[in-house]
Symmetry: C2
């Protein structure tokens, strides 16, 4: 067994980083040598009283550095040695000083894992034959050579024209708007921060929010402030106070099926937000990545449609609707901003990949996208019912759920004193995964919160997974209540 | 005719921005109205004594803002109106304050233009049938559905494995190295700046250098310092002094067929640079985007191959070699850095497009890439001879040229007092284009410098284009010398 490390849970250095440093030192000092086997994450977690995910994160980092390597079924072995000072740069030192926290990196899930951890469509729903036919048509077309040449930072011309026309028809692109194609919504947010933010500027985000949104602004040096999201979307009173207090430069709102809560912003709230940002001269970014995935209820107009100033910046993408592996999203916004985004796009990566742009254009124009959408909306409705029903049946009394009308995610709040982060290790032991609330927190800590991403699973898997989670949460709740019962609080002195 | 603007050539605001502001004001105050026709760029340039490119740049900006629109053969018309203060955000004001200069935006070239302005392969050399066959094979394959699902920030697994194996075989990837796939080399540099630089850090670049390299670091808030590049690549004495004086964090070197000079760094210089960066603990980034395009002479080992510390960070790409429109490049570097780059990649745009990664992998594995490379190397050799011969024949005495052995670019230095930037407008009038030195300057102003990107043109076009440039430069040189002859310097007083 490894010499036990002294880990400090109160330190600013996360536990996994402390453990990583400890193992790294054992390797550096030769106490662990190439070929040595490390304890399993389960054993070491038990031994040190840590979460298994903490140990996994430390092992992953060591593997990234080439110091250890995991073999399925055999465990992890020391493979490298820590470079001595004289051999070159100390990369850990070069890089460590700039560390600003990590995004969740879900460990590769074993085949039998029921994973609610990723907000993405189901593999088995991909229209692979239609995709094949589309690709064949695109490459057989006469203009195919144009796809191969250097393109425009604003996007592949024919796709851009299509998106502008479609936007005009729908009323989301006015005369003053232009379209810039991006590598999905993530890059759209990154380009927006580059063009609009300076370090120290404040950005208001939904709280909880998709971790990629938080990271992209926080890493740019912006102050990120959360506005609570409930079942009806952003809390407007809170938003009003935050705008007055924080003088934000940017507000990012996901009005439809927000990630992670699944919440939808009512029409009146949309209008109120537009008034607020107009009054305070805040740039409004509308992230509508899930908007096309409504399973029940009537569609609501986008903020962009409601905004008669035309200032709202609308983000959309083909990645949730069609193929996440093809990175094509787009920004619809005022000419002046679009021009600047295209400029930033140019020095970021010149332009988006043109083959995928051409394929998605053909997929849309041929009517295949609309047909596919109808199928995944039907499938999504089934999955949404399944997850809500299963949560009602299996999760312990006192659990609160959002009631999404579309999208891919449901937000669960466990009764006190359950901690979704702590219970994840037990879920992993039973081959179920989810993302606990801590990954989505902006300003508010919510230990009972967790996200269930249901769109990628069959209704059967959803029911089986939620049943397992229900068992874990219920037994833990019983245990906690029992121990509270028999373990009275100390007398106040 | 427009009321003549008062433009100040000494102002810090570039002339095109001043002209833009003037026209914008005319539109804002209603002196120009929707439907009004603007003078042609040629007429307005003549009228105001400006370069035609200055007027074009102002018009482009107005078009970007939706205020005017150009119609081929009919001229430019006012289409929009400047938003009044009450209607929403003033985007010009919101954006103007963050303006940090622009990349060159070559105007769309008319069909008959002979353009030496873009460093890219010739359209007619694209192996379109092989590309079509490759795409058909990729989408017909059993694993095609995996391409469509959300991927890894480090790259599409099969391509990454291939690149690592190939790098190991070639000796550019050691045991401590890993590969991260990026959207071409431009994004590789962007991720590197995100991971390694903090505002105020210094980056040493070749001078002159590709504008994208300068922009990506300068816009990140880095201090960018140039090290002169001659026919033998970076000036090593200058580099040594710059390292001692500037304490840079990063040095970016393009050892093969540097853009814009085409220069190649000799073997001894490669070794010396490695010693220097090792001594000073500077991170060395080797941009080898043109390395596979050698037309004459023996290949030299990369810095990465020569570096026994393994610290060198190597950038490569398929974009110059195969298809620029498919955005696939990769970084080979130490595990610790690669892990961090993948993390940055995730919050930048999640991951690179997987369809193009799969297509390029198949293109390489099938042997089609090697066959295509043999063809474009033969074509490149022809074009290189043509441009060097034509420059020798047509450009005026006193012109100096680099002598590239590969790549896509040749650097020309015109005899004094010629200014390549000023003469560009005349070249455009005769339907020839190039990029003057000012776009490539880092620390050194070189008014006589210009880049001829020859790879995209046939030898015939190259000869015709250089002949036209030769005529312009020679007549201007005669004029300048004559006026100097007849216009004696004033007496010293």
């Amino acid at each position: 067994m490894l010499p036990a490390p002294v880990l400090d849970p109160e330190s600013e250095v996360p536990l996994y980083r402390q453990l990583h440093g400890h193992v790294r030192e054992l390797i550096g000092t030769g106490r662990l040598r190439p070929g040595d086997r490390l304890p399993s994450t389960r054993d070491l977690a038990g031994h040190l009283g840590l979460n298994r995910t903490t140990v996994s994160a430390a092992y992953e980092l060591l593997e990234t550095e080439g110091l250890i390597r995991g073999h399925v079924g055999r465990g992890s072995f020391v493979t490298g040695s820590v470079p001595s000072e004289s051999s070159g740069l100390d990369w850990a030192e070069v890089l460590e000083s700039w560390d600003r926290g990590s995004l969740p990196q879900p460990a590769a899930a074993p085949e039998e894992m029921i994973s609610f951890a990723t907000s993405r469509p189901a593999d088995h729903l991909f229209p692979i034959d239609e995709f094949r036919a589309t690709c064949r048509e695109v490459v057989a077309a006469e203009g195919a050579a144009a796809i191969l040449q250097l393109g425009s930072p604003s996007g592949y011309g024919p796709l851009r024209d299509y998106l502008i026309d479609q936007g005009r028809e729908e009323g989301v692109a006015g005369a003053g708007d232009d379209v810039v194609v991006t590598n999905g919504c993530q890059q759209a947010m990154d380009l927006i921060q580059r063009v609009l933010l300076r370090p120290g500027d404040t950005v208001l985000l939904e709280d909880p929010v998709y971790p990629g949104a938080k990271s992209v602004f926080a890493r740019a040096g912006a102050r990120v402030v959360g506005v609570p999201v409930g079942a009806q979307g952003m809390d407007l009173e809170h938003l009003e106070r935050a705008i007055a207090r924080e003088k934000p430069r940017l507000l990012v709102v996901t009005p439809n099926f927000q990630n992670p809560t699944g919440a939808t912003l009512p029409l009146a709230a949309r209008r109120t937000i537009l008034e607020m940002v107009r009054e305070a001269r805040v740039v409004l970014v509308e992230n509508d990545i899930y908007g096309a995935l409504r399973y029940e209820g009537e569609p609501l107009p986008t903020l962009k449609q409601l905004d008669d100033t035309g200032d709202t910046v609308l983000l959309r993408s083909y990645s949730k609707l069609a193929f996440p592996g093809l990175r094509v999203g787009w920004v619809t916004g005022p000419h002046a901003l679009s021009g600047r985004l295209a400029e930033a796009k140019q020095f970021t990566d010149l332009h988006s990949d043109q083959l995928s742009q051409a394929v998605l254009l053909r997929f849309a124009e041929s009517g295949r996208l609309a047909a596919h959408r109808a199928r995944i909306v039907a499938a999504g409705a089934e999955r949404l019912s399944a997850v809500i029903e299963a949560c009602g049946r299996y999760l312990p009394d006192g659990t609160r759920l959002t009631r999404p009308q579309g999208g891919m995610n449901l937000w669960v709040r466990l009764p006190q004193p359950l901690d979704a982060g702590e219970l994840l290790a037990r879920a992993h032991q039973e081959n179920v995964s989810y993302l606990p609330g801590k990954y989505f927190e902006v300003s508010r800590h919510d230990p009972g919160g967790l996200r269930l991403s249901f769109a990628g699973l069959t209704p059967e898997k959803i029911r089986a997974g939620v049943a397992i989670l229900g068992g874990i949460f219920s037994s833990e709740l019983e245990r906690a209540r029992a121990s509270r019962h028999f373990d009275p609080a100390p007398a106040m002195v």
